[in-house]
Amino acid sequence: MEIKEKLGWSVNEMAQNVARDIQDGAYVNLGIGMPELVAGFIPEGREVIYHTENGLLGMGAVAVPGTEDPELVNAGKKYVTAIPGAAYFHHADSFAMIRGGHIDICVLGAYQVSEEGDLANWSTGVVDAIPAVGGAMDLVAGVETIFVITKHCTKNGDPKIVKKCTYPLTGKNVVSSIYSDLAIIDVIDKRLVVRELAPGVSFEILQQQTGATLHKSKLSE
């Protein structure tokens, strides 16, 4: 356990890995939680416009304490700001942007990702839980490029990258790339191709932590 905890990337490094893959001029939707960190790591010289599905294009930073406006929130209901050049719109228009394929990239968390790029991130399927889906299914159905940022394993050490999701699906064949603490993995033709290994992580260690067959790319060989 000692060793395992020191292996791999920190959460900030994971966010940085995602940010590196967001091109200049992209329209991006960031999911609640870890994905929100990505905005802090966009490389210098790139301009990215953030969409929040509750009706704002051009979301800025989190509001400075004391300036919060309860009517200016993001999808996680956090108090945020708007940049110059922002636009407000209603929910149907906002999801037209999503469903119509206008958002370039969406960064989401995951309970599980399958080797075919299926994503489960809305329900653990526990019988007594209150089901809640929000915009997750709309995002994975409508946005061309879905980046998943996630710890490679659960707190119990169970793999989150699996042959087949056991949790209820958010969408099928939707994930483009997985950014975990141990590796960056692309889903290519329904196969998991390791693009980059975190420092100190070998392909074999990674495979041990993964519930599906991994493939080497030229870069990870």
Binding site: D69, A82, H90, H91, A132, G134, G135, M137
Partner: protein, 238 residues
């Protein structure tokens, strides 16, 4: 002559009947018409079907309406928040029915309802539990699910400013479901932070044209739901 202004919330919601379908605007507290909802708690109509993105927080607003056992069913995308206690309890006890709808599908079903479109197809939820028992169909070799319009007897909506014609503008992300709900209800009841003169809103910037609005009531200092929740307030006020 046209004047949609009513003098108070009690009058605004007086004719809401048992069994009515009610759309309630808001995304969390942003845009939630707390004062209109409280008037509906006072009014007492029961067995309501509520269409709203969330299911309320603490013991005020929509949560108070649910806690008062006035809601038989809720159609929403996200009934769970860190401070929602009322809905989960009733749901677990089987005292309230839930129709869970993806957020964009919910918004579009409401827009369809207001636009005379009985049904449309979407990719959202294909291959998931939420598409079970729904009709699938292929267009250009992709599968889509058929989704039906939602209409309501009443909509309760919060806006920023309104005029007596019912023209509305909203404030920032409090706009959210307001405009589409205004379209989809037989009777749309709006609480505005300020009632202004006809002509004060630039015709290029009207968000909801008055044709979609039937009653407007001024609530100049609407409650901050999150503050009420933090203070553990309950409606009806003790």
């Amino acid at each position: 002559m046209i004047n949609k202004i009513v003098s108070n919330t009690a009058e605004a919601v007086a004719d809401i009947f048992d069994g009515a379908t009610i759309m309630i605007s808001g995304f969390g507290e942003a845009g939630s018409p707390v004062e209109l909802i409280h008037a509906l708690v006072d009014q007492g109509a029961r067995n309501l079907t509520v269409v709203s993105n969330n299911a309320g927080s603490g013991h005020v607003g929509l949560a108070a309406l649910i806690e008062n056992r006035q809601v038989g069913k809720i159609i929403c995308s996200f009934p769970r928040t860190s401070i929602s206690v009322v809905f989960p309890e009733l749901y677990r006890n089987g005292e309230i029915e839930l129709e869970l709808v993806p957020q964009g599908t919910l918004a579009e079903r409401i827009r369809a309802g207001g636009s005379g479109i009985p049904a449309f197809y979407t990719r959202t939820s294909v291959n998931t539990q939420l598409a079970e028992n729904k009709e699938l169909r292929s267009f250009n070799n992709k599968e889509y699910v058929l989704e039906k319009a939602i209409v309501a007897d009443f909509a309760l909506v919060k806006c920023h400013e309104a005029d007596k014609y019912g023209n509305l503008i909203y404030n920032k992300t409090a706009r959210n479901f307001g405009p589409v709900m205004c379209m989809a209800a037989k009777t749309t009841i709006v609480q505005a932070r300020k009632i202004i003169e006809v002509g004060e809103i630039d015709p290029e910037c009207v968000v909801t044209p008055g044709i979609f609005v039937h009653r407007v009531v001024e609530i100049s200092n609407p409650a901050d739901e999150s503050k009420l929740v933090a203070e553990e307030r309950r409606y009806p006020w003790k």
